[in-house]
């Protein structure tokens, strides 16, 4: 009986893999040449149109800024969904990092050993440096590899480092779930305001409001990068802090 079941499930796996292979092989092995027209256009006009030397930033905050707005909304929904699901299950998730485990007398020996001094020292010292590096990646996204999303993720890992490295007594506001949620909401609000501000000066939704005032067009991309970086950093940091069991 058990053997027959195993044979059937093996067959099912095999058939499913074969079916996916039949669909995916033409995609992976197509020798259609990659079109160069978009690259040629961007190479010739990208810097003049948006002011950003990093063409990837020029695309996702200039030509396709509307798409980026949708992306941040997806991220916002995913963060709220994750927090909702975790908070509804009640108890804190990772007991090694929550308050219970720090009560050294009642914690089981296995839990006590999960948190070594090494983690405290290394992550606590590295956290602020990672935060600064995240700010750098975020603010220089128009000149060098990086941008809002990448810098935001680095900032989130800095927040995780700080949350991992601090003992229970010396906590910072950056690892409080409520604070991160407020930063994320403020970031999203200012992203919407930055998108709408172009309409006031007549350059349209996601148009550059500073274009008429003689400012360089790249300033708008820097502003958008900073806002998106704050929002993404706070959102993903919030998610990670919640998964460590610090959400109330």
């Amino acid at each position: 009986m058990m053997k027959r079941q195993r044979v059937i499930s093996f067959l099912q796996t095999f058939l499913a893999l074969g079916a996916v292979l039949a669909v995916v092989i033409p995609v992976f092995l197509s020798d259609f040449p990659w079109p160069t027209s978009a690259r040629d256009y961007l190479e010739a006009h990208g810097v003049a149109d948006s002011g950003a030397r990093n063409l990837v930033s020029a695309i996702y905050l200039g030509y396709r800024a509307f798409d980026t707005l949708g992306e941040t909304i997806v991220l916002l929904v995913a963060v709220s969904g994750t927090i909702g699901i975790i908070a509804q299950s009640g108890v804190s998730l990772a007991r090694g990092f929550g308050e219970e485990a720090l009560d050294r007398k009642t914690a089981s020996p296995r839990l006590r050993h999960r948190r070594t001094e090494l983690i405290d020292v290394v992550t606590g010292k590295l956290g602020p440096i990672v935060l600064i590096f995240g700010l750098y990646v975020m603010l220089f996204g128009h000149l060098s590899p990086g941008g809002g999303f990448q810098g935001g993720v680095v900032i989130a890992s800095g927040i995780v480092f700080i949350a991992l490295g601090s003992k229970n007594e010396d906590s910072t506001r950056l690892q409080e779930a409520g604070m991160l949620a407020r930063i994320e909401a403020a970031g999203f609000l200012s992203l919407i305001l930055a998108a709408l501000s172009g309409m006031v000066t007549g350059s349209g939704f996601f148009g550059n409001p500073l274009a008429g005032m003689g400012a360089s067009p790249v300033s708008y991309i820097v502003i958008l990068n900073a806002v998106i970086g704050l929002k993404v950093g706070a959102g993903i940091g919030f998610m990670c802090v919640a998964m460590m069991g610090r959400v109330e």
Binding site: E71, V79, L93, P145
Partner: protein, 114 residues
Amino acid sequence: MLDRLLLLLLFLIGFWGIIARRNIIKKIFGLTIINSAVVILFILEGSRIGNSTPIMSSGIADVVDPVPQALMLTAIVIGVCITALALAMAFRLYRSAGTFDIDEIRRKIHDEAS
């Protein structure tokens, strides 16, 4: 050609992880592997038409296509969202069933229903 075949293999490994493994966490790993395979495929194909990074300064010409890079930025962010949501749901299932094994979860649901 070899690089594409390896990416195809990576994709299939991820798919196999989703359908054949019983542990939910390993299924989520499979999702992430599929996502990475597709992202790498796009970046690789977009880079075939140029040689230098798409950061313009004087003397830079013949850059790679920046469009797939910008699109894959979106794909990576969405992948992170999917992973986080899937992990949260796996956590929820673990809280109620006490296991990550889908067969056991199904058996427990069946037991409770009858």
